[in-house]
């Protein structure tokens, strides 16, 4: 903590930033003391990213002052920010997969270091902060957690006085999150200030000293997170009461989807081969698959959706039929629907309007008939989807790419649910989606389950899986664990299983 006399490490006064149609930041004040872990909390679109870009010099504010250690500065570029002592760890890592750890770090440094000196410094920093990292290792085989370590070490090499972390835990296992917090606490103890951007309330309560909450581009409050409950923090963030989704116990019905002993190589050189995967999914239940992305999620989804074919017809069974060798369109006709994690470009065609994006998968709802696209029916379907799932957009003729991530996700989830699937696959249903939209999507999935459909959810967010799933399995290194009822499955067990340490129960 800081003494009252010392100036704060960073002080923002009345920062405003306008874009063509929106005010991203509206007169924001923010102070970060030395050695403080300061949370920046807010829904998507609340202005967190813009504010961080201002601090990191990636964009210039229209109005307002920035003070760095008590001195007024104007930060014109990220390079200048780094010279001042501001480091940023981005949510999406920019790593060249064909290079080693040391080469990747060397590329991003502003100063030139000899390879040996660099390796020594990487070793020193990684040992000091508990971030094990081999400088000579090629990065392509690394897990997301390891890649994040590369990013953090890269920032720490420049001895920053302020470290900005943008949603750092969204891709980490629970154990990796704890390790990261340990590192951050150690940094803070040495006097480094940390700006921690997140919408995960329990993490903020656990880690952060102070929280500034943003809503619609304005500061809606500051708080000591430890003195609040997640519910009161959420209220500050959303500006109203949050509904809670409820999962009532329910007797599952007949088997809708069965994956039996599925092994599948990978087409992607950095992908993960599936090994002997078996899974049963019944009508009226939601089964979750936990695990860190890159452990076979992509391959498993492609094998179930039919984008890739299995070797044996019986490896995938859908509503009692062998479909392992049927292409995606035929599986859709049997009642399979799918919400992919990649929304723009896969779940929706960016340059087409929403009505056409309904026709994309709407053949089973009669939107394509006799070789013709029925434009009127597609527009009506899109309008109904927009209404039912409160998608914010310019009507059914708005281009998919004009929607925000959360709204597009509501639209895609809504579109697939309104096709009345017997089996719904959902991958990362609420990635980058704000709290209220997440709840709406969760409730929609639960309603679908209550109507008797079988739902398979793949997610990296354990909280999400615990909130909506009847059973959870873990996918690690291309193998899938048994699916265990949530009440019998501790989060720690899942964390252990994520490393691949699980055995199948004898059948």
């Amino acid at each position: 903590m800081t003494t009252p006399l010392a100036p704060p490490r960073l002080a923002l006064h009345g920062i405003s930033k306008r874009y063509a149609n929106v005010i991203a930041n509206d007169r924001i004040d923010l102070q970060v003391a030395a050695g403080e872990i300061h949370a920046l909390l807010g829904e998507n679109g609340a202005g967190k990213s813009t504010l961080m870009k201002v601090v990191y010099g990636a964009t210039q504010p229209d109005e307002g002052r920035i003070e760095w250690q008590g001195r007024a500065v104007s930060i014109r570029s990220p390079a200048q920010a780094r010279r001042l002592g501001i480091g940023m760890v981005f949510q999406h890592f920019s790593i060249f997969e064909t290079l080693t750890v040391a080469e990747n770090i060397g590329l991003a440094l502003d100063e030139r270091l000899s390879p040996t000196a660099l390796a020594a410094r990487i070793g020193e920093v990684s040992a000091r902060y508990g971030l094990p990292l081999d400088p000579q290792r090629l990065t392509h085989g690394m897990s997301v957690g390891e890649r994040q370590r590369v990013e953090i070490v890269r920032c720490l090499l420049q001895s920053p006085r302020l470290l900005i972390m943008d949603e750092p835990t969204s891709v980490l296992t629970p154990q990796a999150v704890q390790a990261l917090f340990e590192t951050l606490r150690r940094l803070a103890a040495e006097g480094v200030s940390i700006l921690y951007i997140s919408h995960k309330l329990h993490e903020i309560r656990e880690l952060c000293d102070v929280a500034t909450v943003l809503r619609n581009g304005r500061v809606s409050g500051t708080a000591i997170p430890r003195e609040h409950t997640t519910a009161t923090l959420a209220r500050m963030m959303v500006g109203g009461e949050l509904m809670q989704c409820k999962l009532e116990p329910r007797e599952p019905g007949s088997i809708r989807l069965e994956v039996h002993n599925l092994s599948l190589g990978t087409e992607d050189p950095f992908g993960t081969a599936l090994r002997e995967i078996s899974l049963r999914l019944r009508g009226g239940e939601i089964v979750g698959i936990a695990g860190v992305s890159g452990n076979g999620q992509k391959e498993l989804l492609a094998a179930i959706s039919g984008e890739r074919l299995a070797a044996a017809r019986s490896a995938v069974r859908l509503c009692g039929q062998n479909v392992g060798r049927l292409p995606a369109a035929r599986r859709r006709r049997l009642g399979l629907c799918f919400v992919p994690d990649e929304r723009l470009g896969r779940g929706a065609v960016p340059g087409m309007h929403l009505a056409d994006n309904c026709a994309l998968t709407g053949a089973t709802a009669g939107l394509v008939r006799h070789g013709l696209v029925r434009g009127g029916a597609a527009r009506a379907f899109a309008r109904a989807t927009i209404g039912q799932f409160s998608v914010k957009c310019d009507g059914e003729l708005a281009l998919a790419e004009s929607l925000s991530g959360g709204n597009l996700q509501k639209f895609i989830v809504g579109r697939e649910i309104r096709l009345l699937p017997s089996v719904l696959l959902v991958s990362q249903p609420t990635w980058g989606v704000d709290v209220s939209a997440s709840l709406l999507i969760h409730q929609a999935l639960i309603d679908l389950r209550d109507a008797g459909a079988a739902v398979l959810v793949i997610s990296e967010e354990l909280d999400e899986l615990y909130a909506i799933c009847d059973r959870i399995a873990v996918l690690a290194q291309g193998r899938l664990s048994d699916a265990i009822p949530v009440a019998e499955l501790a989060a720690e067990t899942i964390g252990v299983w994520m490393t691949g340490a699980f055995e199948h129960a004898a059948v």
């Binding site: 063509a20 149609n21 210039q60 229209d62 292409p327 994309l360 070789g371 310019d394 004009s402």
Partner: protein
């Protein structure tokens, strides 16, 4: 440091919140106007009277019925090839071998007229046209097969097949199909009269191919707008991953795109042989199949745009010829016009998605 000082540069490119519909319509006409203005300035710099040059270039070639017929005649193969190519490019299938498919269509269609024309009587033109379409399709089937089977790039395969088709034609007219009465000229005997496509109207050489091209433009518009197959092709072109996700077969789209563009190019070839040329000779096309690539893009890959762009390109060919004769300008003026057109088109297209905004002082 930054390449230029942002405090001095007063304008900045800014992404529009949605693409401008007005600019989408206006970009091609703006490009044409800018191209005209540039070229007229250039003529003035060369000491030619711009008004006279304009007249020589754009008015004189079409001030007679014959001239209008020539405009339509030259536009026909461009339009046919470009319609198919536009559809193919919208599907993300990069057939750049329309010139080869045109040549093979000329060989098959011309061959039918040559050997069976007399026997077929007044059915001959229809059978020739069908044979030309099939010939173009067969030539386009090679890149289709290789891409769907072995993932070869259709760009290279279709381009290389252009030269093979031209050599095949050359072999035929130098060898087995050479006119015995032709004094060793490398060309076939003339097609029998009943195998020729009659002119659309007296005093011109344009034939039924122009009408077919217009009908195909209308059909192509309908196909892209309403049909499920056209929709699937569009999805493939815009977002291949979304197509795979929705269960759209890539193989079927590749085949359709190459069959349609190959067939249309083959039709263009037979319309030349059974139309203005009347014999098979080593060179059938002065590069229509390649110029059609420019036409397709100037027409913004839209059938109506392709119709207008092929007329424009045809006018540039005719104007270039008359400028050479009357103004003693070099033959490269046609290329200058084509290049200028493409240049301004690409520049104008930028403003569909972006706009220029004056930077306020405090932004910088």
């Amino acid at each position: 440091m930054l390449p230029f000082d942002r405090t001095v540069w007063p304008l900045r490119l800014e992404r529009r919140s949605k693409p401008s519909a007005a600019m989408r319509v206006a970009s091609s006409p703006l490009a044409v106007l800018a191209m005209l203005a540039t070229c007229l300035l250039l003529f003035a710099a060369l000491g030619k009277d711009p008004a006279a040059a304009f007249r020589v270039f754009f008015v004189e070639p079409v001030d007679s019925l014959y001239g209008v017929g020539e405009l339509m005649l030259k536009a026909t193969p461009l339009m046919l090839c470009a319609l198919g190519l536009a559809l193919s490019y919208r599907t993300n299938v990069w057939n750049i071998g329309a010139e080869g498919q045109l040549t093979v269509g000329a060989i098959t269609g011309g061959g039918v007229g040559l050997f069976y024309g007399a026997a077929l009587g007044h059915w001959s033109p229809a059978v020739e046209l069908a044979a030309g379409v099939l010939g173009g399709m067969a030539w386009a089937a090679i890149p289709a097969l290789l891409r769907t089977r072995f993932h070869t790039s259709e760009i290279f395969v279709s381009l290389m097949l252009v030269y093979i088709a031209q050599l095949l034609l050359s072999y035929l007219v130098h060898g087995p199909w050479r006119d015995p009465a032709g004094q060793n000229f490398p060309q076939s005997p003339p097609l029998p009269d009943n195998a020729l496509l009659p002119p659309l109207f007296d005093g011109a050489r344009v034939n039924v191919g122009f009408v077919i091209a217009l009908l195909l433009a209308a059909l192509s518009w309908w196909f892209g707008k309403v049909s499920a197959a056209g929709f699937r092709m569009r999805v493939s072109g815009l977002a291949p991953a979304a197509a795979a996700y929705a269960g759209i077969s890539e193989r079927r789209n590749v085949w359709l795109a190459l069959m349609i563009s190959g067939g249309a190019a083959g039709l263009a070839g037979v319309c030349e042989v059974a139309g203005p040329i009347g014999v098979l000779q080593p060179v059938i096309s002065p590069g229509y199949g390649f110029a059609a690539i420019i036409v397709a893009f100037v027409g913004r890959l839209h059938p109506a745009g392709v119709v207008l762009a092929s007329l424009l390109m045809s006018a540039l060919y005719l104007g270039g010829e008359s400028a050479q004769i009357e103004l003693q300008l070099p033959a490269s003026v046609s290329g200058l016009f084509q290049g200028g057109l493409l240049f301004y088109l690409l520049a104008a297209e930028l403003f569909i998605g972006f706009r220029l905004r004056r930077v306020r002082a405090r932004d910088a």
